[in-house]
């Protein structure tokens, strides 16, 4: 066997390895996602309340047919008869983690703040590209993952921007959720499961998902709210008291591949019946707003 043949073989192998790594941006490989302590204090006083939910604002998205109906939404918000305690923004507020997009998202969230609705935001996969978490911390919140409580329910905001929580965040989440006696809602941009047809849009690692779903059942997590899918909402029931709601996108798009209407949700929690009613609001093509109750979910009781 000649030396030149061996060298030729090794060169071909290296070329193949480079080609194999082409689907990955080597600069964007992380060892573990940012950690989170999830040790913020949580209150247990139970009461009924409503909150706003939206996902995938995608400021800066310039694909064909993309549009926003912020004015229609804000007019709706101004005339909405029920007090909304806060807004949950389920991530992908930017298109490509650019600073201008983060500024637009922050300005939009300020519009809600000006109306007395504080917002809690997650990062999505579009928000963490090229060091996007740094911009998130500058413009949106100092932590990409954390928890808070309202009306006796603990809300866990997860950093799933890498399609995985990573080892450290997963371990901390399981520990903290297990010792928190409130019923809980997990919020994750990337869905945990959402159905057998979700061959791409869910969490990547099957063991990670198994541990998360098992924690949901054991730690009284009644619901995981997620986005990422854009096309439609999906409800999946893991058990009678544990479900997942994948939300449709807040921005609209009228194109060959994606036909979506601007969509948001109001969740109303009845602390006596322990039920969470989810209403969907959509800006129709006729520029009216449709409303329908898409799910009434049974939440676990606090221990």
């Amino acid at each position: 066997m000649s030396y030149s043949k061996a060298r030729f073989g090794i060169i071909i192998l290296l070329l193949a390895l480079l080609a194999g790594c082409a689907p990955l941006d080597l600069a964007n490989i992380e060892r573990d996602a940012p950690s989170a302590s999830f040790d913020e204090p949580v209150g247990s006083a139970s009461r009924s309340f409503s909150f706003l939910v939206f996902s995938d604002l995608h400021f800066g998205r310039d694909d064909s047919g993309v549009y926003w109906k912020h004015e229609v939404f804000l007019d709706w918000l101004d005339s909405y008869p029920t007090t909304l305690a806060f807004a949950l923004n389920l991530g992908d507020m930017t298109s490509d983690s650019r600073e201008i997009e983060y500024r637009m998202a922050a300005a939009f969230l300020q519009e809600l703040e000006d109306r007395g609705i504080p917002s809690h935001s997650l990062v999505g996969n579009h928000d963490v590209r090229d060091g996007g978490r740094t911009l998130f911390r500058s413009y949106i919140h100092a932590q990409t993952a954390r928890r808070f409580s309202y009306g006796g329910i603990s809300f866990y905001l997860l950093d799933s921007g890498n399609a995985s929580l990573g080892r450290t965040q997963l371990r901390t989440l399981i520990d903290q959720a297990s010792s928190d006696h409130n019923p809980k809602i997990f919020c994750s941009h990337i869905p945990f499961y959402a159905g057998p047809d979700m061959y791409y849009f869910g969490l990547s690692d099957a063991w990670e998902r198994t541990m998360l779903v098992n924690t949901m059942v054991k730690a009284k997590v009644g619901l995981v709210l997620s986005g990422h899918l854009h096309l439609t909402e999906k409800v999946h029931h893991f058990t009678e008291e544990n479900a997942e709601l994948v939300c449709a996108s807040f921005h609209g798009r009228d194109s060959l591949f994606e036909q979506t209407l601007p969509t948001w949700y109001v969740c109303s929690y009845d602390h006596i019946a322990k039920q969470l009613a989810v209403s969907q609001f959509q800006v129709t093509k006729e520029k009216t707003i449709s409303c329908s109750v898409i799910a009434v979910l049974q939440m676990p009781s606090s221990s």
């Binding site: 060298r7 090794i10 990955l24 060892r31 791409y200 990547s204 198994t210 098992n214």
Partner: protein, 241 residues
């Protein structure tokens, strides 16, 4: 402890199917050539463990045009059992070969849960002399996560893709690289979690080989920022009859 009868049924039925399809059939057929056993030790990390020693055992044999492999990986509490049958299709072209393969996988060891995977794929192998061979496999993967605390298992159907390149720069040295949606023991419930693998094997005698291998599995693909979900670096010996 495994407590749910439904869960236990799934686990036992899965094991029985694997045993029947991968052990009894080749034993009864009396394999005629090339049975080998490969024992490896690796250092592995995944979503649960960081840098733990791992044992990998792989038994392979051939029955006529069918290549059979059965492997066990023990990664601390996590165990993976995989079985693969490859049927080499008849070919008139010396440099092209079609192969149909089926793979079954069962993984267990965390929160009393079990993961099942089945892959059916067609691979087109191409050879360029004795130096280079390559293959492209396309197929379907069915995944099931059986979690005792849930009412139903989580099922997913997803595409399977593998690109594979083998170089033989010296007579006794074989270098492999691959890009795939799964590895032999590492399966995902989602596609687009690419596994990049690299392997080098050196045949010392006709009956004894040594090798080293490594793989990385990522959480997503470009342009996303990705995590390394699992990685493994190891060495192995192969005894061949």
């Amino acid at each position: 402890m495994d407590t749910s009868p439904v869960f236990l049924s799934f686990k036992h039925v899965g094991c029985i199917i694997l045993m029947v399809s991968c052990l009894l059939v080749p034993l009864q057929a009396q394999p005629k050539r090339n049975p080998s056993i490969r024992q490896g030790i690796s250092l592995s990390s995944n979503i649960v463990y960081d840098q733990v020693p791992t044992s990998v055992t792989l038994v392979t044999t051939s029955v006529d045009a069918v290549n059979l492999s059965l492997g066990l990986r023990v990664l601390n509490d996590l165990k993976d059992l995989s079985a693969q049958a490859q049927y080499v299709l008849p070919s008139q072209i010396p440099w092209a070969q079609g192969v149909v393969s089926t793979t079954a996988h069962i993984g267990w060891g965390l929160v009393n849960s079990t993961l099942f995977d089945a892959v059916l794929a067609y691979a087109q192998h191409l050879k360029a002399g004795s130096l280079v061979s390559a293959s492209l496999s396309l197929g379907l993967q069915a995944h099931g996560s059986v979690i005792p605390t849930l009412d139903d298992p989580l099922l997913t159907l997803l595409p399977y893709v593998q690109l594979h390149l083998r170089i033989t720069p010296m007579e006794k040295l074989v270098l492999d690289t691959s890009l795939s949606t799964t590895s032999f023991f590492d399966f995902s419930g989602q596609c687009w979690t690419p596994v990049v693998g690299l392997e080098a094997a050196y045949r010392i005698t006709d009956f004894f080989s040594v090798g080293a291998n490594a793989f990385l599995r990522f959480s997503d693909i470009h342009p996303e920022t990705v995590l390394i979900l699992s990685q493994e670096v190891g060495v192995y010996v192969v005894l061949q009859s």
